[in-house]
Structures are given as structure tokens and as C-alpha cells.
Amino acid sequence: MAEFKNLPAYYDPFFCPHTIIECKLGINWVPLDCLIDTGFAGFLLLPKTYQKYFDKISGLERSYIVGNGEVIKLSNYKGEIKILNKKLTVDVIFSRIHQPLVGINYLIDKHLDLNFLYKQINLWN
């Protein structure tokens, strides 16, 4: 049976689930507090203020439908993160948001239990 390891996860005061991901910003590894957003079809979505630390993948872009129905084009970047001390190169996009988000592509190989009644959250890798 596969052994699962706990990843950091918590609810904020508004019951929004969060996790902490170590992300390479320039030469430093920085823990990023990320909202877990199952409505985001991607891996990591960061505020534009972080863009300077990442390399754009020239010519690679995708169209996204945002909350108000508008279609926007966003360029693809790649970035390094660490999950349980294991490095991984992942897809990163940037937008005018205030909070880093992780989406479905981050969650897809993990267990996520959200219990709002008992205010419990568990995330396993």
C-alpha cells in the first residue's frame, strides 16, 4: 500500500482552503501561501508581482475564461517548486490577483479532504 505524507493545509477565517508550497523565486526558496482553487484548471497561478522571478516560455500561450465570462490570453511560464523536499518543474501563469493559487493540476495526484462541518482539512501526497 502506498505511503501518504501530510502536506501543510489550513482553512482561513473565511473557510477557504490553503496550502503552503515552497517556490523558487530567483535564487531563493520561498514558502508561498496558496489558496486551493478547484475552479482553476492549472497548476500554479501567481500575482503579477512575482513575474520577474520566472522565465517566460516564448510563444506559448493559452486563452482563459475568467469569472465574468471574459476571455483573456495568458503566457506560459515554468517554475520550480518543492513538494516534500522533492523538486518539480511546473507550469506557472500570472494574473491580476492578490493571492497565489494552486489548481486542479496540483491536486490531481493528491488526497484532499475538506470537512467544513468539523473544520478539518487534510492534504496528502
Partner: protein
């Protein structure tokens, strides 16, 4: 005539989607080179993009979609 690469890629995507959904997960990425119609699939867009660029070093635009949807959602 300068064809919008996104519209071209969407047309290609709609043609290939029936085959893609049989082989790949809906969240796997498809990178499409619109001029040739070539496409590359990987669970990371950056990796599919690198393969696309290796095969099409002269191309300027590569359009990303997922197997399940041409448009992403935020």
C-alpha cells in the same frame, strides 16, 4: 492572409479532441503549432512546449489547451 493562430488552433483542437480523450486525461496539456497542425501532449505544458519548439524552431506561436477543454478557467 494572416489567420488568427488561436482560431486556427481551436479548429485543429476540435478535430483532434475525439482521439485525444481516448488516450489522455482531460487535464493533460496539448500544445498546438497552428501552421502545421502538429500537436504535442504532456502532463506539463512547458514540457509539451519544449517538444513543440524542438520540432518547429521557426514557429512564433504555440497554443496551449488541455485534452478536456480548449479554454482554461480561472
Amino acid at each position: 492572409m494572416n489567420i488568427n493562430p488561436i482560431l486556427q488552433a481551436e479548429k485543429i483542437y476540435n478535430n483532434i479532441k475525439p482521439q485525444l480523450v481516448k488516450r489522455y486525461r482531460s487535464i493533460d496539456y496539448v500544445v498546438i503549432e497552428p501552421s502545421s497542425g502538429d500537436y504535442y501532449v504532456d502532463n506539463f505544458a512547458w514540457r509539451a512546449g519544449e517538444l513543440a519548439k524542438q520540432n518547429h524552431p521557426e514557429a512564433e506561436n504555440f497554443i496551449v489547451a488541455t485534452v478536456g477543454s480548449f479554454y482554461g478557467r480561472i
